[in-house]
């Protein structure tokens, strides 16, 4: 590659890194569906099984960062090192890939600009989440592939898998396409590299299950808890979107794709046209798989998975631009730069995190409770947030009563953990709450006062000035069964 082109690649990467760092959230936040951040922050303090299905490399890196930093510095370091930096590298890789495939400088610059201007990608690059790192490794794998580096392709795919298991189907598709060319023998050794780099790290999760770690998100090393942990979430949400939700989902997908890709659609249209070689099949299959993943997923927040498809889409955009006149490249680049500017105002995670500080308010209010208080909450942002505060301040001895843990038979080790660690007994949320009240423990409900969270109907509340916590004075008498078996109940 010519020296000036290398410097441009470096400049593109540095520019993207500066842009993302500037806009990144400088405090703990839940914006842009980053409510899992509580989990990752807990893992920066404790060796503990995180949310399904593990993310062993990500929690190891978070733990490493947590070893050198503390409090908000950890939040900032993880956001910048594991979100902003990988995303900036991804932007640079898109530039290098398009340059390699088209040998046209302006197409490469335009493609990386489109990705930089994509609001969806920006939001996952400026908050504390695992997607930016995963996408970076997948894009790196593609870069190595087109440069004929098979082992490095497998290694990068493996590292991506060790962060997010959703890379497994992508890797399988890519291997199938590569092997289709009749080069099975060439890929047998890289396949071993992939298994070692991608699948072997998940043994860390099994080790953590085996060890006496807090049973907050998974049980011990038994077949039942492994089945529930590794397959439970996927079984519940993947491919389970009701047909009645489809119009809304498609509308939402259209909105976020239109606002993210701007004027790049004509180039995309040309890029998708035949002929298809193996590299292009890899890109298209990644896009189709991620679209299917989001469009059929019951969880409305899985648009984050579309970020996996965006680098592929922008590379295809570059391929399309190479077939068009240079004027198209200028128009697409200009459109992307306008989006970069607009996003810096309206999708500024730093500003948004300060405007909507639920996570930090929750943190402060938890810290204001008396030591040994119990908190009842639904599984998700509030429970993961509490786990983080528990790991940051174990001296406060906060007690997590998570709904619906214990009310279902799929997590029996949680009941054992509650009894051994906190001395609370009960087979469900209400029994645990009553036991805590009987023992004179201060019990609070965490979460906003929304009719969506029907578990609130089972409690009586006292007056409180707090925003995220309300003191529970007793049970209301509403049976738990009516909440558990009500359609549409969020838990």
């Amino acid at each position: 590659m010519q020296a000036p082109r290398k410097y441009i690649a470096l400049a593109v990467g540095l520019l993207a890194f500066g842009y993302y760092t500037l806009l990144s959230a400088k405090q703990w936040t839940w914006i842009a569906v980053s409510s899992d951040s509580g989990d990752w922050l807990m893992c920066s303090n404790w060796w503990v099984v995180p949310q399904p299905v593990g993310s062993p490399l990500y929690i190891s890196l978070a733990h490493l960062i947590g070893f050198f930093t503390d409090g908000n510095a950890t939040v900032l370091a993880i956001t910048i090192l594991l979100s902003c930096l990988p995303s900036a590298i991804t932007i640079m890789l898109v530039y290098l890939i398009v340059l390699k495939l088209t040998d046209k400088l302006w197409c490469a610059v335009a493609s990386s600009s489109v990705l930089l201007g994509a609001g969806m990608f920006l939001m996952q690059s400026t908050i504390l989440e695992e997607y930016a790192s995963t996408v970076c490794f997948v894009t790196l794998a593609f870069y190595f592939y087109i440069n004929g580096k098979r082992k490095l392709t497998a290694l990068a795919l493996g590292l991506g898998t060790a962060i997010h298991a959703l890379v497994v189907p992508i890797a399988l598709m890519w291997f199938v396409f590569a092997i289709r060319e009749g080069r099975w023998r060439l890929w047998s050794k890289p396949l071993l590299t992939y298994i070692i780099a991608g699948l072997l790290p998940y043994s860390l999760i099994l080790i953590l299950m085996y060890l006496d770690t807090p049973r907050l998100l998974a049980g011990g090393l038994t077949l039942q808890s492994m089945n529930e942990y590794f397959l439970g979430t996927g079984r519940a949400i993947i491919g389970t979107l009701s047909i009645f939700e489809v119009p809304n989902r498609l509308l939402a997908v259209a909105e976020i794709l239109l606002m993210s890709l701007g004027l790049a659609w004509i180039a995309l249209w040309y890029g998708f046209k035949k002929p298809y070689n193996t590299a292009k099949l890899m890109l298209v299959s990644t896009i189709v798989f991620m679209l299917w993943m989001h469009v059929t997923n019951m969880d409305p927040f899985t648009w984050t998975f579309l970020c996996f498809a965006l680098p592929s889409a922008t590379i295809i955009c570059g391929l399309g631009l190479s077939q068009l006149r240079l004027k198209h490249t200028y128009v697409v680049s200009a459109g992307a730069l306008v989006l970069v500017l607009i996003n810096s105002v309206f999708l500024n995670a730093n500003v948004l995190a300060q405007e909507r500080p639920y996570a930090t308010v929750y943190q402060q209010e938890l810290m204001s409770l008396s030591d040994g208080s119990a908190i009842v909450m639904t599984a998700g942002a509030w429970s993961l947030g509490l786990f983080y505060v528990m790991s940051e301040h174990p001296e406060k001895n906060l007690i997590p009563i998570v709904f619906p843990y214990g009310a279902l038979d799929d997590f029996p080790d949680y009941g054992v953990y509650m009894r051994k660690k906190f001395g609370l007994s009960g087979s469900n949320t209400l029994e645990l709450t009553q036991d805590a009240l009987d023992k004179g423990i201060d019990v609070y409900y965490a979460g906003r006062s929304s009719k969506q969270w029907r578990i609130q109907e089972t409690f009586l509340f006292g007056e409180s000035n707090m925003t995220t916590l309300r003191p529970i004075t007793g049970l209301s008498g509403v049976p738990l069964e009516t909440i558990l078996h009500t359609e549409g109940n969020a838990r």
Binding site: E255, G262, I342, R356, G488, A490
Partner: protein, 100 residues
């Protein structure tokens, strides 16, 4: 660049601008809101039917036994057999727990 391209770029700019406020709200949300409809009739099943429907004419043309039937009938049978078999397999391996 043709006039058609220019017009398309203008329309894309308008679509991008119009969808921006709605897309932004989706992107910056903090936690789930609203109710989720739970149903056994999922989009995935519909896609499976579409997929089976798309490949069944090709498949039926490959089966010599089915030549005596009209292609549409054969396609229907192949499609239903494929989907039913897939659903049974999914249920048996426990991937679709809610199907009953």
């Amino acid at each position: 660049m043709t006039k058609k391209h220019v017009l398309t770029y203008i329309l894309l700019a308008i679509a991008c601008g119009a969808s921006y406020p709605y897309g932004r709200e989706i992107l910056i949300q903090q936690e789930p809101s609203g109710y989720i409809t739970i149903s056994n009739f999922t989009l995935n099943y519909l896609l499976l039917f579409v997929l089976a429907g798309a490949i069944s004419p090709w498949l039926s043309s490959k089966l010599s036994l089915l030549k005596r039937f009209k292609k549409s009938t054969a396609s229907g049978i192949v499609m239903l057999t494929l989907v039913s078999t897939l659903l049974i397999i999914l249920t048996l391996v426990g991937l679709e727990m809610r199907w009953s």
